[in-house]
């Protein structure tokens, strides 16, 4: 599917990514939206506030004092039984981190659109995935969109799955690359969304006519089980997500069902397979076309879902590759990139373990060009077992002349 070549159909509108996501949120008709600005997310909450001001959306719109309290007000609203939404990026997601972990522990469905951006320091407003990965272990489901359409659709599917498994969702889409792009997209109507997404029907709320205590503290006798329930809910969410993508396809016609909705592939049975998240996959497809035209059998496996981790699907999608190249916009200082490490861990008990090279690229908005991708394909083709630790991962875009030692 060559997405970039689509022409806008009659049903499509061309608008900024953040506005398109906001319109999708409007169609989901949340009870409560908590809003705080941060670049590059701001457009989402700006657009939502505009829709409220124009009477098109009648959510309670809380203009909070911080992302910390954006998450906290969503927690209160969700506990009361409301459908709650917020959006953030980078430092804002960091500030939400403490309450978001508890939203998972208290099993409160909240959907957050995360316009991915690097974490300080140095300060930067541009895209990478260090913000999303820093929240990896909190118990939030995480999706990564490749284009604006997916950014809209993941939010809608996010509500559907979150409200069934009672977990919060981080719906990631790359800052600037997707937030500020003008792309044709189908904006779901409220009628369509009503068919797909029923009103929230929570099992427990704070309704005072049936008093409940929420957020009790757990001693060692109970804590493990409470957190294990998150693990189980994540496992359960895989089936729910797979069904959700099927239902979504029936209502909207857009097909995200490949590999149970967890992965999307492009020449997925190729000898050499790249793995990447989010928007850079558009460029990767183009480069793959060029290399395939030259007779190189290379393809792409793109995880749509990062939590729950698509373990079985990745084993199937990568197990028989000659070699795998993981292109990732995050790092784990002191080890290797988290995505590469997770993929290796996933394949450890699989039948085959293809050699895996990882590449840290596109950090803080550095463009990942076609020639960068070509070089990484070629390096992946040379990968073989065994590898020394310092051969496993490379930083192909590193400008060595800027390093403190001048690269010596």
């Amino acid at each position: 599917m060559a997405k970039a070549e689509q022409n806008p159909s009659d049903d499509q509108e061309v608008m900024k990514g953040t506005s398109a996501v906001a319109k999708g949120v409007m169609a989901a008709n949340p009870d409560v939206v908590s809003a705080y600005p941060i670049t590059p997310q701001t457009g989402v909450v700006e657009k939502l506030s505009e829709l409220v001001a124009d009477g098109q959306l009648d959510s309670e719109f809380i203009k909070v004092d911080s992302e910390f309290n954006a998450a906290s007000t969503c927690i209160g609203a969700s506990a009361a039984g409301a459908r709650a939404f917020s959006a953030t990026s980078s430092q804002g997601l960091k500030l939400m981190s403490e309450p978001l972990f508890t939203a998972a522990g208290m099993r409160l469905p909240i959907v957050m659109a995360v316009a991915n951006r690097s974490l300080s320091a140095p300060l930067s407003i541009w895209a990478d995935h260090t913000d999303a990965f820093a929240e990896r272990d909190g118990g939030m489901m995480q999706f990564h969109a490749e284009d604006v359409q997916e950014a809209i659709d993941h939010v809608l599917m996010g509500f559907r799955v979150a409200e069934q498994v009672n977990l919060p969702v981080l719906s990631n889409f790359d800052g600037f690359i997707l937030t500020h792009v003008q792309e044709p997209a189908d904006i779901p109507t409220e009628e369509e969304v009503n068919e797909f997404l029923p009103p929230r029907d929570p099992e427990y709320t704070l309704d005072p006519s049936d008093p409940k205590t929420m957020g009790a503290f757990a001693r060692p006798e109970h804590w493990t089980e409470a957190r294990y329930e998150i693990q189980r809910a994540m496992e359960d969410s895989k089936d729910v997500w797979a069904k959700t993508t099927e239902e979504f396809k029936e209502v909207f016609g857009r097909d995200y069902t490949e590999y149970n909705g967890m992965l999307e592939t492009y020449h997925g049975d190729a000898d050499y397979r790249l793995v990447a998240l989010g928007s850079m996959c558009g460029t990767i497809r183009k480069v793959i076309d060029e290399y395939r035209a030259e007779g190189v059998d290379v393809g792409l496996v793109r995880p749509r879902v990062h939590r729950p981790f698509p373990t079985e699907e990745l084993r199937e999608a990568l197990g028989d590759a000659e070699a795998v190249g993981v292109l990732t916009k995050e790092m784990s200082p002191g080890y290797e990139s988290a995505l590469a490490g997770e993929i290796k861990g996933t394949l450890y008990h699989a039948e085959n373990q293809p050699p895996i090279k990882s590449f840290v690229v596109g950090m803080a908005g550095r463009d990942v060009t076609a020639s960068d991708i070509g070089a990484m394909i070629e390096e992946t083709m040379e990968a073989s077992h065994p590898m020394a630790f310092d051969e496993q991962e490379s930083w192909p875009q590193l400008r060595e002349e800027l390093l403190a030692d001048g690269g010596d």
């Binding site: 910390f68 906290s72 205590t213």
Partner: protein
Amino acid sequence: MSSDLQDQDFTDEVEHDEELWNPGHRACAGCGPALAMKYITEAAGENTIISQPTGCMEVVSTPYPESSWGTSYIHNIFENGASVASGIEAAYKSFDRRDPDHLDVEDSEDLNIIAVGGDGATADIGIRALSGMMERGHDVLYIMYDNEAYMNTGVQRSSQTPFGASTTTSPAGQESIGNDTNKKDMTSIAADHGVEYVATASISNPHDFKQKVEKALEIDGPKFLHVYSPCPVGWSYESSKTVELAELAVETGLFPVFEMEDGEITSVNQIRDRKPVREWLELQGRFKHLFDGEEPSEEAIEELQAWIDERAEDLGLDA
């Protein structure tokens, strides 16, 4: 290893009788804040949702799978009691306006949403959440129960700890008379946010405190109450003297009891023959070092007395 109690199934319906703050909680003997919880629930009644940040009252009341609360109750984290309450209030506004039949909830007109936090959770780490809640005008009553330090973690100094108190992070010593700041004025902070009704109360006068809770709950929008609640463990006094110490704090003017409406002081519980603060200090172990007869200690007592006198004059506290 787990006890029989922990193996018991508490998940069935529990009969709350008429109590909304039930016995069996783990508060210490003579706990002032536990009395405050009793009075708050008595005044607010059943149709109430409590949001409580982390702290003594949360920990003593909700060890899973037990709960002392007969009202709906939520604890999230230390610094967001006010914003969790804000979110609850927003949810109910949405239900009322958009879909009153969707959830089987009481009419939010009669619903009381109350956030109840300790002094650290309110005046220190939670002040951002509180400020936002008050500034945005949520229909929430915020009650700060003040025991003048971080008691849950072992008596560390907060911005409500009085001058001269020895705590585990403001210990008295060769070079220290204990805590070196006066209590942060939370009522002025609340009033300056435009909060319509702001008041102080002491657990030594339950009738007055409960009346203020009831009065506050009649008002739409944010309300702020500061309730004085001594802690026998943190202050180091005999647990039978909690009410006495709370009353003495009022009688010395260390804790003035008053109401503010629309930013103006509208009532002050005036005191005839205000007692010297020394009488209150000498009953508590946390001020023991101030009675060593040394010069710096005398000066510290005088400094605290001067701060009290100045506030008393501002408030017209003396009858």
